[in-house]
Symmetry: C2
Subunit: 248 residues, 2 copies
Amino acid sequence: MESQNVDRTLGLLWRRILGTPQGTRGPKQRVSVDEVVRAAIAVADEEGLPAFSMRKVADRLGLKLMSIYTYVPGRSELIGLMVDEVIGEQELRPHEGALRERLTVVAQQLWDEYHRHPWLLQVEESRPWIGPNVSDRYEWQLAAIEGAGFTDLEMDQVITLLSDFTAGAARASIAARRTAEQSGMSDLEWWEINAPVLERVMPPGRYPISGRVGTAAGQEYNAVGDPARSFRFGLDRILDGLTALLDR
Amino acid sequence: MESQNVDRTLGLLWRRILGTPQGTRGPKQRVSVDEVVRAAIAVADEEGLPAFSMRKVADRLGLKLMSIYTYVPGRSELIGLMVDEVIGEQELRPHEGALRERLTVVAQQLWDEYHRHPWLLQVEESRPWIGPNVSDRYEWQLAAIEGAGFTDLEMDQVITLLSDFTAGAARASIAARRTAEQSGMSDLEWWEINAPVLERVMPPGRYPISGRVGTAAGQEYNAVGDPARSFRFGLDRILDGLTALLDR
DNA sequence: TCCTAACTCCGTATGCCTTACGGAAATTGA
DNA sequence: TCAATTTCCGTAAGGCATACGGAGTTAGGA
């Protein structure tokens, strides 16, 4: 029963290779799995994953709620399909240039992807679905560092390092963007609300370094932080560290 | 109305400094805010944030659902209190040793924290609450690198880099752990279910590097990956990169 | 030609969730 | 003593996923 579900979802993930037709009895489907997935992505893009619901997908397609379940087994499987779909959006160009540039492209691609579909960061799957686009991209990522001098084990660890860091940095960046947009409250206004209480509560001189660093950041960024800049800083350090490893 | 809520929650966050008593009319509260927060943490520890509900917190305290709302304004504010509370669990020892050791301690502390309270990774707050323990810890993290030779701006970026990477690595580690526990399905069994479909669907020779690297990782780890080891690898590279920056 | 298996679409129901609202009871300051 | 204030909680509204079963549609086989 569980494993049936796995099979069905894998079939949906690889539907372009496997082809759709099987049983042909019964009424024709009014839409296609592709349309369901695209509609679902549109909903998630607009409202985020918490507000994403099966009903909204159905509404967008002119279907009623329960009909969606004839296309996909359930919400979580649909999300798996959405993930593989958006990962396939980016073109995987042949790698060129030095290692440093190649790795930058790999990281930048992840960064862009998260910003185009912020809900990717809200997906929680204990066991990731293995779809065609995820597979293709992992191969492409490894190809970027093939022959650079890493061991096979290190190759996986390098991609993991880049992915983990980029996800974290993108999370901060998107949180900042969403905050600015939706709450309609700037960092400044936020501080103006917090300040009276915080001043009463933070003993003066208790946070000397935070105060100094916060002031420096505030003046430079004109905001609490600059996620894009932090991303570039971190990425540069990581690339330095990786080239150092190759010079051993 | 919004800003009232902010004030109230800040008051709760800093309750140990501000003290509780205000109006003393009416019946005594049967429990305390501290107990509510501790009960909430227990629920989240056991069941994760998605399954965390106000009702379960109430049940655990012998109260009925709606009474919880006389202690905290709502679910999201309660989560803010929980976060600050668990961040306060770790002792902030004076820093000693070389920069590399200090930074390792900072990262390791985050790593441990995420593993003790995995739901921290599921918290989504666009605007983080500024509580006493969060503030203390940020100051402590900065103190670890004070005087090492970074500019004020870089100091913030260094902590951000470490935090972002550690969060990403911990996320992978916890996903692996939860998967193993709850699904009762080992990586091997998972592959046995997936394999028949994947073999039919992945053209042979299409994933040469992934195949080689995956095999190497599988033999070394006896699993799909080893998150703890990837964490150490990534951390080492980052520390290399940071020391390189200081040698400029 | 006709029947039936298989399929789609969907109404209904169950059991979760947060939180707004208002009432009864308890407590204390005036 | 009594009114203001606060706690605890019942109820209800409005959201969610999804199990189940029924009505109608289609194609293949008898």
